[in-house]
């Protein structure tokens, strides 16, 4: 240690002229400060900004120059023997030089920026960054540049062909690090990416620092042997670090369904057995993963973590389209119930929306600039494309595999369009005039629809193709959620929060049943199985799922939940599900995802459990 300090003092003495230059740079802003400032700046601000710029530039420039020369130059000039002819160890030589270099960087920054710091007071010189933060960033960057410049200086000054190996090793490390970061970023694990980046940066700095001592111990006065020793130590260390990091990342991304326990989210196909569950997993920080689950068989398939928000189910519930996102491009893949591997649709989107046909055999896309296209998955062919006029909000679905119907919200109402794959024709079939946004709910055959302009209780039964009003429906006020049931009847929630009821109307609109639900702040439809309707309700005392027996006209079963897992298909397909509702997914108070059968009341835990801090 004593010898290291002796060498540090000598190195510092040798570079004392740099410190004198720093003093001159420190004075410069105060000389410039007497010049009147433009743009309303005060002289004080001018002094501080110039001092910060000079301190940053000087320190970073010095870090590169000093880093590249503090060992490399002595080696290439044959002056390292001056130290090695003395009773001083390689470690002392290295750390003496290193300490002197870092003190010089910190000292010069302090000398130039210090007086400005005193002048600045509470004023923040750069984009609201405090002096402490600025100092931390600049000095961290300077030390990093200093160490990297040392490595490059040692490698380049040796004039050894080994530099080709170093280049290849650096590229390999870069590729490996990118792969690790992309793997974690795919799970939106920004915290883990940050930790990994910091850990790798620290490991690299430690490898360079320890490698410097190693290179001088093994190479001593020989520049090529120094290069060889540093190269072996640096890349060997980085290989070990990257193997450990890869093992850790592999463990993180291998989270199983049963490991999920935080920030759970899920979607459920409205008719079939498919569901997607995503969330963070035990001891894996903020890494998110997602699984496609077949609730009938229990089969699970790992998906891109974003699938829980981006996947679209086919209406028959037997398939789901999942975008595999790489950079700005989403490759559409289709997973089918019973099949292990996905089918690549050959479609990729950079922006826009998509939805599959009811049987999952075709996909329609809405892409900029408002182009609706239909693709056949089996042949990976584009069948038809058409430009949709002035879309503000569109709801679209495959009426049949050959016809896509679009409800196109315009400024003056709703435009109804049909795109025919066989004739390649886009035809407007109807319209509904309205100055406000129009809510629509279609019957199972898509022949009729309920139409309600937003923020009104005015409900009409319309022809779903032409938009023509068939009849005005008389309903209670205020009206809440509504939809067609699978048998063609209409279900709607009416009445105030204190005493809402579920009204069942015939397909013509005649009231058949009025079923009281009890107080609720908000009610929505989950689905129906022919015998009962399932509703999700928010109450002051907690949320519930209600199974309402249609024939008996009462709430048959209540299940307390934390959150209901929404079941949906397509781009908010306004039609009811194709199959009777069998299961409903929800999260309970202990953060489990539960499969609940409204018919029997049976429950099964799919995954989850309390996570700390969740």
């Amino acid at each position: 240690m004593k010898n290291a300090l002796v060498i540090a003092a000598r190195e510092f003495e040798e570079k004392r002229f740099v410190a004198y230059s720093a003093v001159a740079f420190a004075l410069l802003p105060f000389l410039v400060g007497v010049i009147p400032m433009s743009h309303g700046r005060t002289p004080r601000e001018g002094i501080v900004m110039l001092a910060v710029l000079l301190a940053t530039g000087f320190t970073l420039g010095l870090s590169v120059i000093t880093g590249a020369s503090f060992v490399g130059r002595d080696l290439s000039d044959g002056r390292m023997s001056f130290y090695f002819s003395r009773p001083v160890g390689s470690v002392s030589i290295w750390f003496g030089k290193l300490i002197a270099g870092i003190i010089l960087l910190v000292g010069c920054f302090g000398v130039i920026a210090g007086p400005a710091r005193l002048v600045a007071g509470p004023w923040s010189p750069v984009l609201g960054v405090t002096f402490s933060q600025l100092t931390g960033v600049v000095l961290t960057l300077a030390v990093a540049l200093f160490l990297i410049a040392h490595v490059i200086g040692t490698f380049s000054r040796s004039r050894s062909q080994l530099v080709a190996f170093d280049f290849a090793a650096a590229v390999l490390c870069g590729v490996a690090i990118r792969y690790l970061i992309v793997s974690l970023a795919g799970g939106q694990a920004m915290l883990l990416v940050k930790w990994l980046s910091i850990s790798l940066a620290i490991a690299l700095a430690a490898a360079i620092i320890a490698g410097g001592a190693w290179q001088l111990e093994r190479g001593r006065t020989d520049r090529r042997r120094n290069h060889l020793a540093l190269s072996q130590f640096l890349w060997g260390s980085m290989a070990v670090v990257l193997v450990l990091a890869t093992a850790y990342v592999a463990w993180v991304v291998s989270a199983r369904l049963s490991d999920l326990n935080g920030q759970l989210s899920a979607t459920h196909s409205p008719s079939g057995p498919l569901a997607i569950v995503g969330g963070t997993a035990k001891a894996r920080a903020d890494y998110r993963t997602a699984f496609l689950i077949n609730t009938e068989t229990g089969d699970t398939t790992r998906l891109d973590s974003r699938a829980v928000w981006t996947a679209i189910y086919a209406r028959d519930g037997r398939s789901v389209v999942v975008p595999r996102i790489e950079g700005n491009v989403a490759q559409l893949q289709i997973y089918r119930a019973g099949a292990r591997d996905p089918v690549d649709t050959g479609l990729s989107l950079t922006a826009g929306e998509f939805f599959p046909s009811d049987d999952g055999g075709r996909i329609a896309t809405f892409t900029s600039p408002r182009v609706l296209s239909v693709y056949e998955i089996a042949t990976k062919r584009s069948l038809v494309s058409a430009r949709i006029p002035g879309t503000r909000f569109g709801r679209a679905f495959f009426l049949t595999p050959d016809v896509v119907r679009v409800y196109n919200q315009m400024d003056d109402g709703l435009q109804i369009l049909e795109l025919d794959v066989r004739t390649h024709r886009l035809q407007q079939t109807g319209a509904i005039a309205s100055a406000t946004f129009i809510q629509i709910f279609l019957d199972p055959t898509a022949a009729h629809m309920l139409v309600r302009p937003a923020r009104t209780d005015n409900l009409t039964l319309n022809d779903a193709r032409t938009g023509m009003v068939i009849r005005q429906l008389s309903i209670g006020s205020p009206a809440g959620a509504m939809r067609f049931l699978r048998d063609g009847r209409i279900a709607l929630v009416v009445g105030p929060h204190a005493s809402p009821r579920l009204d069942i109307l015939s397909s013509e609109g005649a009231v058949e049943k009025e079923i009281p639900l009890g107080p609720s702040n908000w009610t929505t439809f989950v689905g129906d199985d022919g015998d009962r309707v399932v509703l999700a309700v928010k109450r002051d005392r907690g949320d519930e799922l209600l199974a309402v027996a249609l024939n008996r006209g009462l709430v048959e079963r209540r299940e307390p939940i934390r959150e209901w897992v929404r079941a949906s298909a397509g781009m908010s397909d306004p039609r009811p599900a194709m199959e009777p509702l069998r299961d409903v997914l929800f999260t309970d108070a202990e953060n489990h995802i539960i499969r609940w059968s409204p018919g029997s009341g049976a429950k099964k835990v799919i995954t989850g459990g309390l996570a700390s801090g969740d």
Partner: protein, 299 residues
């Protein structure tokens, strides 16, 4: 514990495909002066770097005072003074600053001795090292090397750049004095005249190989220059082995490496050879003869 200050065995140094030192082996007893000679590029500096623990050989071992020179370099350097071939001190530093820096690294340091020697050499302490002449730099290095009263002094071509007076002073007053006081000295040099008076043993390197390693007196006693009046030469090579034979005036000249007075007298009395004159050789002459003989294949 042996009496060897230096022991080099099977030393091999290679740079890529080039063999700089090829299985060299030598030893230097404590208190003796060893002069290693050889032409430029013969491998002397590589051998010295290994000797000082600055370079790890591909094969072989160097021990100094029975300790491995590579593994134990740091503590060994407390006992060794070094004057390197190239002046390696930082050029920006003053001589005084270099002395101050070095004094902090050694257990014992004779600052007065440094100043006295530099005064004697005529080197100002305030001068920046980079501004000194090549000879002055060597003198500074030597003054620093002697400040620790080393048990072993390693001098890598110390006379390079010195004028005649300084060279004479170095050899006769400094090194000669040290040798008299029992300091072991290992010196590489081209100046064979200078070392001849005090070197106990001499080694010669050629193309990385140590082709000669012998006590100076023994070497000088077996080498002779014989000049013959007649030509061609009729030398019985079974008795006197010529290293070099060449024409000289009207006759011829032979350098023999196994001269023996009795054998030579016998040849002369039996009339095997004609009139001939025998003379002793300096180390420099021997070195030149060996080097020339090697080139002509008479080694």
């Amino acid at each position: 514990m042996t009496d060897n200050a230096i022991r080099i065995s099977d030393l091999t140094v290679q740079y890529g495909r080039k063999l700089a030192v090829d299985r060299a082996a030598l030893s230097v007893e404590r208190g003796r002066v060893y002069a290693l000679v050889g032409r430029n590029g013969a491998g002397k500096s590589s051998l010295v770097r290994c000797l000082l623990g600055q370079q790890k050989p591909q094969r072989g071992r160097v021990t100094l005072f029975d300790e491995d020179a590579w593994a134990r370099r740091t503590p060994l350097m407390q006992r060794i003074g070094v004057v390197t071939e190239d002046a390696d001190a930082p050029p920006e530093m003053s001589v005084a600053a270099i002395a101050r820096f070095c004094s902090r690294l050694y257990d014992k340091w004779d600052q007065d001795g440094v100043e006295a020697r530099l005064r004697a050499f005529g080197v100002p302490m305030t001068s920046r090292f980079g501004t000194l002449s090549k000879g002055q730099k060597k003198q500074v290095s030597l003054a620093l090397a002697l400040a620790t009263a080393p048990e072993l002094l390693v001098l890598d071509d110390p006379t390079l750049g010195l004028d005649v007076v300084a060279r004479k002073s170095l050899f006769e007053e400094v090194i000669g004095d040290l040798a008299d006081r029992g300091t072991t000295i290992f010196i590489t040099t081209h100046d064979l005249v200078g070392v001849e008076t005090f070197a106990d043993r001499v080694g010669m390197m050629e193309d990385g190989r140590l082709v000669l390693d012998e006590d100076v007196e023994a070497l000088k006693s077996r080498f002779r220059r014989i000049r013959f009046a007649a030509q061609p030469l009729a030398l019985d090579t079974a008795v006197l082995r010529p290293t070099l034979v060449r024409s000289w005036g009207g006759g011829s000249e032979a350098i023999v490496s196994n001269y023996d007075d009795l054998a030579f007298d016998r040849m002369r009395t039996t009339g095997t050879i004609g009139p001939a004159e025998v003379s002793a050789m300096s180390l420099e002459d021997i070195f030149i003869a060996i080097a020339s003989g090697k080139r002509e294949g008479n080694a």
